[in-house]
């Protein structure tokens, strides 16, 4: 500030006198002036001709940023965790617009407040030296700064516009905000910005799970399959195998223990004897009624078949033989196989 610069303060009771003074000063070439007002008036704004407020840029940028954030937030989270809801597409814009709208307003409003605070330099710890408590009650103040030799002319203009008082303000008292405070605020803002940038870089790299399959649980068919406490095991259905495949691949898992033998004998008498006969020669009581006689199970070609083959025939049935899987569980069938083998051995030994 040059030493030749001085400041005048006029105090006004009426708005139109004040406006007149502003216009006259402006017409006389005094550009550096400002107003204290107890109430907001658009006329003052227009008379001071400061041009459009820079705050509106903050609002615009904030609103656009909010809309973009809304879109990114909704679309990205939906794509990251694609759950179909209500039969709608994963990215369904109509409901997203609600969030977009809310964030547009929120960011716009916050940016407006921020822009306002930055532009009017709030918060301010000290009052300006030309401030008068009356400016918060019922008086307008008009300050004008000019070169020393112009001050008389300015004073005349203020008086001619019915200023209540005109006084000179001592400029030495009026200090601009210290550089250090400015630097401090700027530093805080830069650090905040840095944090936001770092967060913006880190956040997309967080390991976000993108599907429900990706979670710490045991997947279907994954081993080990621990039984739930107090549960009763239930035999599942076995895989249906072709006869040829079964005869080559199926191994008899049941050892021919006496218990297996006894159980097999019992079942054989129930399920097999009616057709195949008590010693499996194909001469059961029902056999007489059949046009195709049941096989002799002790003949060489039957003895040569693997356990898997016999097991599968019992389950699935043969040319005329009905399938027995419904009445005989896999375990039962293996027992029958074991018993049949002993019958065959007996017949061979004889």
């Amino acid at each position: 500030m040059s030493s030749g610069s001085r400041e005048l303060l006029g105090i006004f009771t009426h708005l139109d006198a004040l406006l007149q003074a502003i216009h006259r000063l402006r017409d006389a070439g005094y550009r550096d002036s400002g107003v204290f007002s107890p109430l907001p008036r658009h006329e003052l704004e227009e008379a001071l001709a400061r041009g459009p407020s820079p705050v509106r840029l903050f609002t615009l940028v904030g609103a656009i940023l909010g809309a973009a954030t809304g879109f990114v937030l909704t679309i990205a989270t939906s794509l990251h965790y694609p759950l179909i809801t209500g039969g709608k597409p994963i990215v369904s814009i109509p409901p997203f617009l609600v969030i977009v709208f809310e964030l547009t307003i929120l960011f716009g409003a916050l940016a407006t407040i921020l822009g306002m605070l930055l532009n009017i330099r709030l918060p301010r710890l000290k009052l300006q030296p030309d401030y008068d408590p009356r400016f918060s009650v019922d008086r307008f103040g008009l300050w004008v700064r000019c070169q020393g030799d112009q001050i008389d002319a300015a004073q005349r203009i203020l008086h001619s516009c019915r200023a209540e008082e005109v006084s000179e303000v001592l400029l030495e008292e009026k200090k601009p905000r210290s550089k250090r405070a400015d630097r401090f605020i700027l530093g805080v803002l830069v650090i905040l910005l840095g944090v936001i940038v770092v967060l913006a870089y880190l956040l997309p790299r967080l390991p976000v799970t993108s599907d429900m399959a990706h979670q710490p649980s045991i997947k279907p068919q994954e081993h080990p399959l621990p039984p739930a406490p107090n549960s009763v095991p239930v035999q599942g259905k076995e895989r249906r195998m072709e006869l040829l495949e079964a005869s080559e691949q199926l191994q008899n898992p049941v050892q021919a223990t006496p218990a297996s033998f006894e159980h097999g004998k019992q079942l054989f008498q129930i399920y097999c004897v009616p057709c195949h006969g008590p010693n499996a020669k194909g001469k059961g009581p029902v056999a007489k009624k059949l046009s195709t006689p049941p096989d002799d199970l002790t003949k060489e070609s039957a003895v040569e078949q693997t356990d898997g083959y016999v097991y599968t025939v019992i389950g699935q049935g043969g040319a005329t033989m009905p399938p027995q899987a419904e009445g005989l569980s896999p375990r039962d069938r293996w027992d029958v196989v074991n018993f049949l083998r002993s019958l065959q051995r007996e017949a061979g030994a004889r």
């Binding site: 009426h14 139109d16 008379a47 209500g86 039969g87 109509p94």
Partner: protein, 423 residues
């Protein structure tokens, strides 16, 4: 405040339209009435009646919108544009006509309302001719009665004021309005007392009755469709189109009646802000209905939107409405310069108004018209022209009967105005 007094500068009698145009309007009105009478009994019955309903809803909504604007202006004790308020009140002059036209719908009920010939058993208790016309008739007479009563008290005060300011050549009808004048102070006290009760009741009645009209005369045209928000959407959008009409009147009357002092940059700025705000509110009400129907995806609800939004020949009209009445005004009215300039505000408001007419058309016609092609031709044009003429004539009659009140704008606007033209 020591601003200049601007009283008594207004023309006592205000003639908005030149004589030639008036004559043209009478011709237009006659042609419209004649077309309607001929077609309503002929083979094009449905076309005549459906466009009658569209225009009834549109112009009655506009007339109501004008009165609601004036009532809101008084309720919030606004002082930014008395001349604009007077212009808005003029729209109410169509209401007596609108009241008669409502009962004319009785004659067309067989053609217009599908539930007359094919009643829906579950809804018959609500949708039947005597009950519908009784409840809507009573609702409208209360609403129009309240509107005209508030108009009377508001005008009486203004007219009385101009009597005290030496208006000797007042037209007869406005002399009738100010009969038994008891002095400004006394009248002011009385008016304020009456209006303080009347206006809020009027505004609430407007919301209620126009919701009912929306349900009964528009939603029930498709008797299987329903949307709870439809009534609210209907009265809000009626106010929106009323605002657009007021903006147009403000631009036209300003030049024609020499109201440059009363309707300036500030008034246009405020009108523009109102238009912008109600563009958003109306759009929001539309959206609130749309998003619920879209998400619920229930066949009985979506059919209404699918027919209008995706099927020919309605889809282009629907999208035109959305773009012309909502998206374009929203984008343009963001700018302060646009709001303040009557030269730009006029086309925007005009486009909004045309868009809202198409919107009323798209609400009504697809429910009724099940034949091929778009029913939009000479019949529709002439009948719409007749309605336009009726509204314009009643408006012009209002302006020549009731002079502009001496408006004191010193509080706002002309406290200190540099001599600059808003254009």
């Amino acid at each position: 405040m020591s601003g200049q007094e601007r009283r008594g500068e207004l023309p006592v009698t205000s003639r908005l339209l030149p004589r030639g145009l008036l004559r043209l309007l009478w011709v237009l009105l006659g042609t419209g009435v004649l077309t309607f009478l001929l077609e309503a009994t002929g083979p094009n019955r449905l076309r005549a009646w459906q466009i009658f309903l569209v225009n009834f809803l549109f112009w009655s909504g506009m007339a109501q919108g004008g009165l609601v604007f004036a009532a809101t202006y008084d309720v919030v004790r606004a002082r930014w544009g008395g001349a604009v308020k007077h212009l808005a009140q003029g729209l109410g002059a169509f209401l007596p006509v609108s009241f008669v036209l409502f009962f004319l719908l009785l004659a067309g009920r067989q053609v217009l309302f599908p539930w007359v010939n094919q009643p829906i058993p579950e809804k018959q208790a609500w949708l039947n001719t005597p009950f519908l016309f009784a409840r809507d008739g009573i609702g409208l007479s209360i609403l129009y009665g309240l509107g005209l009563a508030s108009l009377y008290y508001s005008l009486r005060l203004d007219l009385g004021r101009s009597v005290t300011h030496g208006g000797d050549s007042l037209p007869r009808i406005s002399a009738l309005f100010s009969r038994g004048w008891r002095g400004l102070e006394e009248e002011q006290r009385r008016s304020r007392r009456v209006l303080a009760i009347l206006l809020p009741i009027f505004l609430l009645t407007y919301a209620t009755v126009f919701s009912l009209i929306g349900f009964d005369l528009v939603m029930a045209l498709d008797p299987r469709w329903y949307s709870t928000l439809f009534g609210a959407y209907f009265f809000i959008s009626s106010f929106y189109l009323g605002l657009a009409a007021i903006a147009i009147l403000a631009v036209l009357a300003r030049r024609r009646l020499g109201l440059e002092e009363q309707i300036g940059r500030k008034q246009f700025h405020d009108l523009g802000k109102l238009l912008f705000g109600f563009c958003l509110v109306t759009g929001d009400f539309f959206w609130s209905q749309f998003v619920v129907i879209w998400y619920g995806n229930l066949p009985e609800e979506t059919a209404y939107l699918i027919v209008r939004g995706y099927e020919m020949p309605w889809a282009p009209l629907t999208w035109t409405v959305l773009i012309v009445s909502f998206i374009i005004p929203f984008l343009l009215l963001l700018s302060r310069r646009v709001k303040e300039s009557p030269r730009i505000l006029l086309p925007i408001a005009l486009v909004i108004l045309i868009g809202m007419w198409i919107e009323r058309y798209i609400l009504v016609v697809p429910s009724l018209w099940h034949q091929a092609g778009l029913p939009l031709g000479w019949i529709e044009l002439l009948i719409t022209g007749g309605f336009l003429a009726a509204v314009a004539l009643s408006y012009s009659a209002f302006l020549s009967a009731f002079p502009f009140p001496p408006i004191n704008n010193t509080l706002h606007g002309s406290a200190y105005q540099r001599p600059s033209s808003p254009e």
